[in-house]
């Protein structure tokens, strides 16, 4: 039965997915211009992303991978800052340090990731453990795919999470290509894997974002209440946007236009200042690094033309 709340949620999810598709389109344009070196489209996976976000509370922490980088936008990050990070331009909150798609949005509890698949699973386990130690009514959710499921970090994170009953939700997204997934993790199902660790496992169809939201709501509730981690087996296949009523061209086109305008503004501001290269390595810059910064700034000032005088 459809209720007003479920209709509102479906409408919100539909708009979120449409906006995500506009972002994919924009990133593809930027990549063709050589402005974004790396980006991972989320098209087809949005049910896992936006359904899960709808099932969480604002205090829950998020761990993704480059495909999930856009989640900061749903946790209060401005489109301008997000684009500045993707483009590595002045004004980005990560100072141009991160690889596109691996940045953070601390205010929204979005954690930066690395290019090493699976490493974020251990961090989500650690944050989930810290939440339990502190008694916070929150959990950590980490999305991951078949590549991460092949790593030792996957085993370690699930083993520790089971031992300490951490407040963690592990969300597996299959690729939608069963043969490709089998090349990475064999025939073992997520159900078999999770059960092997003594962790609760539930399956959900990523093509049904409302089902994902319900599934994550329950898993998060259990995690927050001290009942331990859940491994969600998210299947990728049918188009999640179709299940919600399809495209919203006006919203998609407007966001594309907004992104294009912002990109030109950001490009006009240029790259971050050279000093930012040396910032935030340590809380306090050691004299040895300060010396290197001085040498670098002196060199760049002398050879600003790119030629020997």
């Amino acid at each position: 039965m459809k209720t007003k709340n479920s209709e509102e949620l479906a409408s919100r999810l539909r708009e979120g997915i449409v906006r995500s598709r506009a972002i994919d389109e924009a990133l593809t344009r930027l990549a063709k211009r050589g402005l974004v070196g790396m980006h991972a489209p989320a098209t087809g996976y949005e049910g896992h992303i936006y359904g899960a976000l709808a099932g969480l509370s604002p205090n829950d922490w998020l761990f993704g991978d480059p495909r999930l980088a856009r989640i900061g936008l749903d946790r209060g990050q401005s489109l301008r800052d997000w684009l500045a990070q993707m483009l590595g331009l002045a004004g980005s909150s990560d100072l141009g340090h991160s690889t596109p798609g691996e940045h953070s949005a601390r205010a929204g509890r979005v954690v930066s990731t690395s290019s090493l698949m699976g490493t974020q699973l251990g961090h989500a386990m650690g944050v989930g453990h810290a939440m339990r130690l502190r008694g916070e009514d929150a959990c950590a959710l980490a999305w991951f795919g078949p590549a991460a499921a092949a790593t030792g970090d996957f085993h370690v994170a699930l083993n520790f999470a089971a031992v300490y009953k951490t407040a963690t939700v592990f969300y597996y997204c299959s690729s939608g290509d069963a043969a490709a997934d089998e090349e990475r993790i064999g025939k073992a199902t997520m159900e078999a894997r999770g059960t092997g660790y003594g962790i609760r496992v539930v399956s959900v169809d990523g093509g049904d974002p409302l089902a994902v939201a319900a599934c994550v709501t329950e898993a998060a509730l259990l995690a927050r209440s001290g009942d331990g981690p859940t491994l969600i087996d998210g299947r990728t296949g049918s188009d999640p946007l179709e299940s919600l009523g399809g495209d919203l061209p006006l919203i998609r086109n407007n966001l594309n236009t907004e992104i294009d305008t912002l990109v030109e503004e950001l490009l006009a501001e240029g790259p971050p200042k050279s000093e930012t290269l040396f910032a935030e390595v340590w809380a306090e810059m050691p004299s040895r690094l300060a010396e290197q910064q001085t040498q670098h700034l002196s060199h760049t000032a002398r050879f600003s033309s790119g030629e020997v005088d």
Partner: protein, 324 residues
């Protein structure tokens, strides 16, 4: 003031940190109920509870991954890696994650983990209980590398490391865990990270070292004194950040340098020290900079005493530089 060995000083520091800051957590393999294989955490679980001091599964990558999560959340984890030889399964988490969290997030996610780990040889531990991995970590931007040499520095530097806003690799010289004894204040105190100590003043040459090798350098300095050679001995205490000022002042005074560490010579931290001295004090040098180090072999079992630097090897190198 009580007399402590290094184990007791480390235990005292952890006890004080746990007692004064509820964000501090101590964990690792056998650190809880058992109190650690070297007893460094003995009694801490009973005093502070099994949620503050706890045992972990045997997985270094898991221990450090969990510590990183706890640190970015806002806690101050102090994990123990039972032997520094076992730290390599956690190397990716340390180098690619812990060291880079602050930088890659533009300062949004500091990662103040203090990893305690015994290092160095001399206990008949063979390949996998004797290594000195400091150069790997000193090479990684974002980490601090701290090496106490005695009980006093162990307690003061460990408390400073736990209070530090950045990740610290805290290398404990296990060979002198119990052999080194000194008066140590019962109360909490810190020593500055990045400040070396002139352990012994001298005028003819400078011996630069850290960790357990400080004690061999002291014995070498005694032998040299019997031969009318005055050696100044510097205990670095911290490799990153490095106290260049103290090193260069001494080198400019003596003009002769011998660097001592247990780790293998090639790409060891001594090479970096030699380069700094060559860059900044070349015209003050009266002789080539010499290194007394472990050899470029895996750490041996039977012949470890031949592998390790000792007072006589240091003495010989000092003689060579004096005679140059």
């Amino acid at each position: 003031m009580p007399t402590m060995n290094i184990i007791q000083a480390v235990n005292s520091a952890l006890d004080l940190a746990l007692g004064s800051d509820e964000d501090v957590f101590v964990f690792g393999e056998d650190v809880g109920k058992f109190g650690g294989v070297f007893r460094a955490t003995d009694g801490l679980q009973a005093t502070h509870g099994d949620h503050r001091v706890f045992d972990t599964p045997l997985s270094e990558g898991g221990i450090i991954g969990m510590a990183i999560g706890m640190a970015i959340y806002g806690l101050k984890p102090v994990p123990e890696i039972q032997f520094s030889d076992f730290i390599y399964p956690a190397f990716d988490q340390i180098v690619n994650e812990m060291a880079k969290f602050r930088y890659r997030s533009g300062g949004e996610y500091p990662c103040p983990v203090t990893i305690r780990t015994p290092f160095g040889g001399g206990i008949r531990g063979g390949h996998y209980h004797s290594q000195s991995p400091e150069a790997y970590f000193a090479h990684t931007a974002g980490l601090k590398v701290v090496v106490p040499s005695d009980p006093y520095t162990a307690k003061g530097l460990l408390l400073a490391s736990i209070a530090d806003p950045d990740p610290v690799i805290f290398l404990e010289p296990k060979r002198v865990y119990r052999a080194s004894r000194a008066e140590v204040p019962e109360e909490a105190y810190t020593l500055p990270i990045g400040k070396a100590a002139i352990d012994r003043e001298g005028s003819d040459l400078t011996v630069i070292t850290y960790g357990a090798m400080l004690h061999e350098a002291r014995r070498a300095a005694d032998l040299l004194a019997e031969n009318d050679i005055s050696a100044e001995v510097i205990d670095l205490r911290s490799l990153v950040p490095l106290d260049e000022e103290t090193i260069l002042e001494s080198v400019k005074k003596t003009g002769r340098v011998v660097i001592v560490h247990e780790a293998a010579r090639t790409c060891g931290f001594g090479g970096e020290l030699a380069a700094i001295i060559a860059e900044k004090a070349l015209l003050h040098l009266e002789a080539p900079i010499l290194r007394v180090t472990g050899y470029d072999t895996p750490f041996p079992f039977t012949l470890e005493q031949q592998y390790l630097p000792d007072a006589l090897k240091i003495f010989e190198a000092c003689e060579t530089t004096i005679d140059f």
